[in-house]
């Protein structure tokens, strides 16, 4: 007999959801989380689409630590000396099926873990699993410190920097082109100041993504999310591209905060935390197998993320994949077969859900981003120049736009423009 029915490694987004499902159905579950409390090691942008939470916890909104409901979607093309923003707001954003919230992981993850604990999952915090126990090719438990603990099935929910996924399913560690590094600062501001600056009411706020100057033209982008009494401001940059950048990422963040379009938004704020975390970028094609004998991967350990420029999604996938992994592991335990064949229903469940459907739909996007450097180093400037032609007057006779715009497109190259436009359409 194994020590536990299931061991779950990591309690970020995927882990507690899986633990909740298993424990609610009477399975013995041990969750091992390396943070002294859940969330202690975690950072994301972040905006959470809450529908996967609602499915399992219909009343989550009354007690989960959500920061602000997103009522403004902003996208900016940022040139070094100019910024062009689209701001979208819509009554439908308040619809429970569509709604999304800014979250802070130091708080959210503790709440998620509490739901799993209340359902009966056992937790060990402050210890990292170092390796997997394998018996005859099959994962049979984990090693943590001096201890060896066995289980019928092990669920790896250990996130983007998983040191265990390659042991479990035999894949190579992700390449620098398939991963990005995120850097973020949390900046404290009075709630009423946040509301004024973002044109929103109490409890409401904005998700704002930037492309171009934030990463000094390398692949990636800037982000800003409004929390209750703080702003989350940061960057995500593809590691392979960043390696040759003109400045380090922490200098990019400092420059971003001082950009003339952003500085007034942050003015008077106090930085209270500086964090870093990786995020997967390779999309569907970079994903490893989701299971092997005695083991399953859920969330970012399996690189389940979409970074589509206008939005970053990983938490919603991780929550939903954790739930499905927990349900499927329960069924496999009931059937007495946690081999790869016994766990096959997991992949199928994800294929049927938005998780693998969305990842598949946007599978071309990472390749498009990687091959469209103009998105980061030319188009923000092109749009700036077009706006200058439209808005900047100085008493000289205006040139008709049909004369002033074509040279701007010519600078980038008509063929490049066409190719990138078509590429973008195909990728989306």
């Amino acid at each position: 007999m194994a020590d536990f029915d299931a061991i779950i490694v990591g309690s970020g987004c995927a882990g507690p959801m899986a633990a909740f499902e298993l424990a609610s159905r009477g399975k013995s579950v041990l969750v091992i989380e390396r943070g002294n409390y859940c969330g202690a090691k975690n950072m994301s942008g972040g905006r959470l689409y809450t529908h996967p939470l609602r499915e399992v916890f219909p009343n989550f909104a009354s007690d989960a630590p959500l920061e602000r409901r997103i009522t403004h979607e902003r996208i900016s093309l940022m040139a070094p000396d100019a910024n062009f923003t689209i701001d979208y707001t819509d009554q439908h954003m308040a619809d429970p099926n569509h709604e999304s919230h800014a979250v802070l992981r130091g708080r959210l993850d503790q709440w998620l873990a509490t739901q799993a604990q209340d359902a009966g999952a056992e937790y060990i915090n402050g210890i990292a699993v170092e390796s997997l126990i394998k018996q005859g090719g099959r994962v049979a438990g984990v090693r943590a410190g001096e201890d060896e603990i066995s289980a019928e099935v092990v669920l790896l929910c250990d996130g983007a920097n998983s040191l265990l996924a390659s042991q479990a399913v035999g894949t190579d560690p992700p390449s620098p082109a398939a991963m990005a590094v995120g850097i973020k600062e949390v900046i404290q501001l009075d709630p009423s100041v946040i509301q004024d600056r973002f044109h929103c009411g109490p409890g409401e706020g904005a998700a704002w993504l930037f492309v171009g100057d934030p990463t000094h033209g390398t692949t990636g982008g800037g982000f800003l999310y409004t929390n209750q009494d703080t702003l989350s401001v940061g960057l995500v940059a593809t590691i392979s591209d960043l390696m040759a950048a003109e400045v380090p990422i922490y200098q990019m963040l400092e420059d971003f905060k001082h950009h003339p379009a952003l500085a007034p938004v942050l003015a008077g704020g106090t930085v209270v935390e500086h964090s870093g975390h990786m995020v997967a970028e390779g999309g569907y094609s970079a994903m490893p197998p989701l299971a092997a004998d005695g083991v399953m991967l859920a969330g970012e350990s399996a690189l389940m993320v979409i970074n589509a420029g206008y939005t970053v999604r990983g938490m919603d996938f991780a929550l939903a994949a954790g739930t499905q992994a927990g349900r499927c592991a329960t069924a496999a335990l009931d059937a007495g077969d946690t081999s790869l064949a016994g766990l096959a229903g997991y992949r199928q469940a994800l294929e049927d859900s938005f998780v693998l459907r969305d990842l598949k739909t946007l599978r071309r996007f990472p390749h498009f981003m990687e091959n469209t450097p103009r998105m980061f180093n030319a188009y923000p400037q092109m749009v700036r120049d077009a706006m200058r032609a439209v808005f900047l007057l100085d008493g000289e006779p205006v040139k008709p736009l049909r004369k002033s715009l074509p040279p701007l497109a010519k600078k980038v190259g008509y063929l490049n423009l066409l190719r990138d436009a078509l590429g973008g359409i195909r990728a989306l």
Binding site: P173, Q251, H274
Partner: protein, 96 residues
Amino acid sequence: MKPITVNVDEYLALNRYQVDEQNAHIELAADPSPTEFAKLIRVCPAGLYRLDSAGQRSFDYAGCLECGTCRVACGSTIIAKWTNPAPSMGVEYRYG
């Protein structure tokens, strides 16, 4: 590389850490290749890989954010060891 104007240490000082003085959870290879080291200078969000004005290279794991970026960037070249910090050690995000 363009000049660095920010003092990242001031930001790291705002974070909460349980620093493990006994064990380095990340170790560099002896005499690391300068080209590889230059990558780490750019990618580490804590700015722990440094080149001073005298051309001296240094690395201090104490401010590590445990993101794993250096491992992904140079795990097959000059990062000789990358493990999670010992039990209960390392960074503790209050916001995250």
